[in-house]
Symmetry: C2
Subunit: 289 residues, 2 copies
């Protein structure tokens, strides 16, 4: 669900390449950022990966593996798969490789440096395709899905996990905080993505030619009874993600430093005693006919 993850892992369609890559709100390849993505993935692993377990020997493609934050959880749930992990960024792939070597040293993983729109594998090469927080950054997600459909054998499945920033609401309610979240959505749209993609998964998969499309919400709700989730999700994942676009939002003239900082301060109250926070991820499974 981060804007950073996927912007660096998947290429937009060529006509949008300039917009998407010259934008400076991608917070880059820092160690801090990679650690944040790992923390986020660990906090959400059970919620997002539950129900996804591929049989040993299955040929699985993870499209847009990024720094491997989800890859290690996929491998933990499906030991024995033959995984191909693909990413557009060589640097991210190297980090993913190191992460997998440390956490799943026995896993059978091939690393592919390339664009999911132009995969070099013959049609029908995979039994299953998995992608998480990738579509939200593609200018034409249906085209990306169609490319992945071709990589699947008939009867093979695709599993897609996406967030939807419009699902975020919180107590105390705050128009300033809400506007700050909207800046993130607007910046992502300017970069050719869609921070509200989760709600579109069903029509997108249908349009891309998949069958038996089943989409389920996976909701994160954190209040004082769940301090680990307040810290791991509300504060360190969601607020941190919104906060990370500060420079970008200011550069784009969407807000002022005072207004942005006030929005973040009010958003942070959702992670203080008496606060609550809600966010919905969507997980879809569909079949190549």
């Amino acid at each position: 669900m981060t804007t950073e993850t996927s912007r660096r892992t998947e290429a937009p369609a060529p006509e949008h390449r300039h917009d998407a890559f010259d934008h400076d709100y991608v917070h880059g390849y820092s160690d801090t950022e990679a650690r944040r993505l790992g923390d986020q993935a660990d906090t959400l692993a059970e919620l997002l990966h539950a129900g996804t377990a591929y049989p040993a020997g299955s040929r699985v493609l993870e499209a847009g593996c990024g720094v491997g934050a989800q890859t290690v959880h996929l491998l933990a749930a499906s030991p024995g798969v033959r995984l191909t992990a693909a990413d557009l960024s060589a640097e991210s792939l190297a980090q993913a490789r190191a992460r997998v070597a440390a956490q799943a040293p026995a896993a059978d993983v091939s690393w592919h440096h390339g664009d999911l729109h132009r995969l070099p594998f013959p049609d029908g090469s995979f039994d299953h395709v998995f992608l998480c927080f990738v579509l939200e950054h593609l200018p034409d997600p249906a085209a990306g899905l169609a490319a992945l459909r071709r990589a699947l054998r008939p009867g093979g499945t695709i599993t897609v996990i996406e967030g939807d920033h419009g699902s975020a609401f919180f107590h105390p309610e705050s128009p300033a905080a809400r506007r700050t979240v909207d800046h993130l959505v607007r910046l992502q749209a300017r970069a050719g993505g869609d921070g509200l993609l989760g709600r579109r998964l069903h029509p997108l998969l249908t349009a891309a030619g998949f069958a038996e499309v089943a989409v389920r919400p996976r909701t994160v709700y954190a209040d004082d009874a769940r301090p680990a989730l307040v810290e791991g999700f509300t504060r360190r994942t969601f607020v941190a993600m919104v906060e990370s676009v500060r420079a970008e939002a200011l550069a784009a003239g969407l807000t002022t430093p005072a207004a942005f900082d006030r929005g973040i301060a009010e958003l942070r109250r959702a992670a203080e005693p008496g606060g609550t926070f809600h966010y919905t991820f969507f997980k879809a499974v569909a079949v190549r006919p």
Copy 2:
């Protein structure tokens, strides 16, 4: 989650009485409206009532039973309880009584005509209290909860179900539709209620002196794969509820006929092929210490 249900079932605090009761967006006591509430309750019964089953012989209070739309589901899940169903409206109580007579003729139910803030029962009279779509209409929901806490024996539980209209999002996204939903929230606030109450359940129950407060989201998500939910919830429950405040919104000067109707038309697209709709209810259980 309807503005109609609870406005007629629970009194606001005296100082707000004028605002709450002179407002004409309560669509009254029509048969159509009672049927709509029943349909809504039936569509959502499994989602909302799952996990609530009281032992036979338990003394249970349903506060704000309205026309009995939830009462029959409560009785179906907990046969053998000794239920007291309370409501501020004699007319609603009569409808609830008829509904229970038809659907649960053997149930042990006492009907109480009165205000939940001033219950005549001795402290500790009940093992369990249940209320659904009631707090959202109280000017001081913590005070209402405190009154209900006193009616419970120590160790007794309260179960509270509320919606949160800020949880509604949909595809296709539409600012006009979103503004129309916002009118509903604003009108409810003017009447002394809070259409965004669901997110506040944890802090409210805590403030009212309950212990072991556990709140869980109960999410409705409808897309083309769930036509019954699209019809029963998106169209007949949510869109119908928003549409029902048209006259009120116009009278309050919040919108124009054209703008309101456009918002409803765009909201309705969420129930057409390719559309999706998301809404979160919250269900809380807590204990009187």
